[in-house]
Symmetry: C2
Subunit: 110 residues, 2 copies
């Protein structure tokens, strides 16, 4: 099994563990956005919103670029590749499990 750089996995997975942050990422797939244009599941103060954006930026999942007084946020989903790769290593396991289940059910039928 591959040796995934754990600090990055830590920060990426924990960034993804919050629904507000997943909503931000979802919105950013539709295009860039300023911070105050970001929509969150729960109504939230601007500093609260900023903290989430900071977490996403720390995890390398969003990039900010300041133009005048407004910040353009864009998705930088590349670190998700490692997370996806990590999870992918488990796919074999669960597929094999589901196959076993399928076999079992098939035998039940006979």
């Amino acid at each position: 099994m591959v040796n995934y750089s754990t600090p990055q996995l830590d920060s990426v997975f924990s960034a993804l563990a919050d629904p507000t942050r997943r909503a931000i990422l979802a919105q950013l797939t539709q295009g860039e956005s300023s911070i105050s244009e970001l929509e969150t599941p729960q109504k939230m103060s601007l500093p609260g919103l900023m903290k989430h954006v900071n977490v996403l930026e720390q995890a390398g999942l969003v990039e900010r670029e300041k133009k005048g007084r407004v910040v353009r946020c864009r998705l930088a989903a590349e670190p998700l590749k490692n997370a996806a790769g990590w999870i992918e290593d488990y796919r074999r396991f669960w597929e094999q499990n589901l196959d076993s289940l399928a076999d079992y059910l098939a035998r039940q039928k006979d």
Copy 2:
């Protein structure tokens, strides 16, 4: 974009955000294990270890079965499917981004 059941994504991603827990999952892909047989990156007390196993169980990623005084832990990676599916939705984005980068670099060459 699909509407993923967020509570499960919350608990799965936050369970994965800890290196100790990822190590436990990795070990369980090699076969079942009792709790005290689980090896962790950092030396840890048994109750500490138990807390991690509890988190993994809550997220639906491991199953326990008590046989006598020993608990058999096994991987139940099925909830990872949702997490993988969620991340997968972003693959299009980053692939397209890398393609854009590739295009850009190709144009630079000309």
